[in-house]
Amino acid sequence: MTRHEMLYSMKLIRAFENALAAHPDHGFQLLSAGEEAVAVGVCAALAPQDQLLTGGRSIGFALARGLTPAEVMAELLGKSTGTNRGKGGRGHLSAPAQGFFGAHAVVAGNISIAAGVALARLMTGDPGIAVVVFGDGASGAGILHETLNIAALWRLPVLFICNNNQLSVSTPRQAVLAPKMISDLALAYGITARTFDGMQVDIVAEAVANAVQAIRSGAGPAFLEFTSCRFAAHSTAARETRSRDELQRLRLACPIMDLTAALLTTGQINHEALATMDSDVSDKVAAALNFADASPFPDAAEALSDVF
């Protein structure tokens, strides 16, 4: 993926989420402004045959993985044209045929599932790997450790990625996680683990590409931590706990602004191209909204379908 494409992808996520948040009937949503570099960097390094699994905060990853804004928007607005026919909604986006095995809203709930997906790949000789993204909050859950241990023992082709946005709802990571680095947790199991700056998409993409390559070559699991920053409240319905000043300060380090500045400085992009990109992104988002708004809700009878 080129840096242009990565910038585009990050802008698309930001614009998509802003439009979603402004939509009158979205219930509530888990947004990821400030964390786009992790989503885009991770997906830039994956191949089609890989499967990505995430926690509830999944919009950025779903879009970066290549799901269409239309099908994602429709799902989030509960429409039958959505990825999950409107039945999953926020926190449960899923499109396994596109390499997005899915989001799961139980904190840390997808970690062992991902290892199982990796086990299936290992046992069938499928070349794909499983990649699971979870938060700093999820890193205090016991299932992470049970899974790291088994993944290490069985040399499962799974990449554990902690998107450390430094908050679990209102709770700062420092208050609830004793380790110096979250990636330290994996070291005891003999798993290669490192922490990187998650605000720089190039760094993320390169770190993931290296890890993926090692895993594909049979090295067993790897663990990456990316330090990122959530710009908004936990959800569109949650109280913000940081001060306006602090938020303003945090938003200065924006992965989209930073990449834009870098591309401008090096002459890799100009203002005209940026403007085209922005208008293209907003067209895409507008089209997605139109599609979703025009789509029907599922029929009430669907409440009883797909149960078994």
Partner: protein
Amino acid sequence: MPPTHQRLFYREAIVRALRETMADDPRVFVMGQDVGAFGGAYREFDGLFAAFGPARVRDTPVAEAAMIGIGVGAAAAGLRPVVSITYMDFLMLGLDPLVNYAAKLSYKTGGQLHAPIVIKTTAGAKGQGVAHSQCIESWLMGVPGLKLVCPSNPADAYGLMVAALEDPGPVIFVDHKKLFPVPGDVPVARYRTPIGTAKIIRAGSDITIATYSYMTRVAHQAADLLINEGISCEVIDLRSLIPLDAALVAQSVARTKNLLTLEEGQVTCGVGSEVAAQVQRRLGPVRVHRVGALPAPVSSNPVLEAACIPNAQRLVDEIKFFINATNPECLHP
């Protein structure tokens, strides 16, 4: 004369019970995710952190098993913890320390140890989707050693929380997401609502609706609608599921001859099954009909969630069919 009652939201009634008891009893403390300065997902811990500080209002990691295990251990060692499990679905992650240890502790130690813990958790659907909407009260009802309460209004929330905090054994305190912003009159004087007592919250003569928590409100709505059709509903708020006040329900059914159980969770092996069985143990065979969620997960999708969960109109339909049917089966083939 000072007022005898105060108007509180349900969530404020919870806070008040905790604040008063914590002030009186240094053994009581709170632990959970975002219960500190944030005040809890539903502001049901608002102000406690400011009043009692971080030693007695403890933010925890997302680690439900250890949260409950540590709480239970502290209880067994003499404290009175309140462990907040934000969503009842995630109680599943901590059932081992709760069911395999706390519930059996008094028994297995021959009475040497007890675990006076309160697990406060929130059940029910409010747009949160398949893994944040479940009602698993009935699982716990079959666990000897536990008590379980599920208030439907601020006054009972206060009184039952006070009672739970004073109980010698583990008590599960189940809120409902839709109840937190509900206001109600709460006596100003300190009191406890005895665990194990149901209450007739609406008198009627044709059918007994046994329900609890948020569904009491749905029952009221349906009862209002049915008056116009000449059907008079008696509504019983169970308030406590362990112990279950089946005697009160049976007294009512002895009069109305029709028992309808209403719950938001699954009917299969649900609360209503137990109410029905216990009433029949007292009265012999009676006409029974159970209403609850459709046998499916609860989606966050507004259409599907509404279709899954009982509402007043569906309840009205079910009651009319039930009362007229010779055999309820015709309703649910």
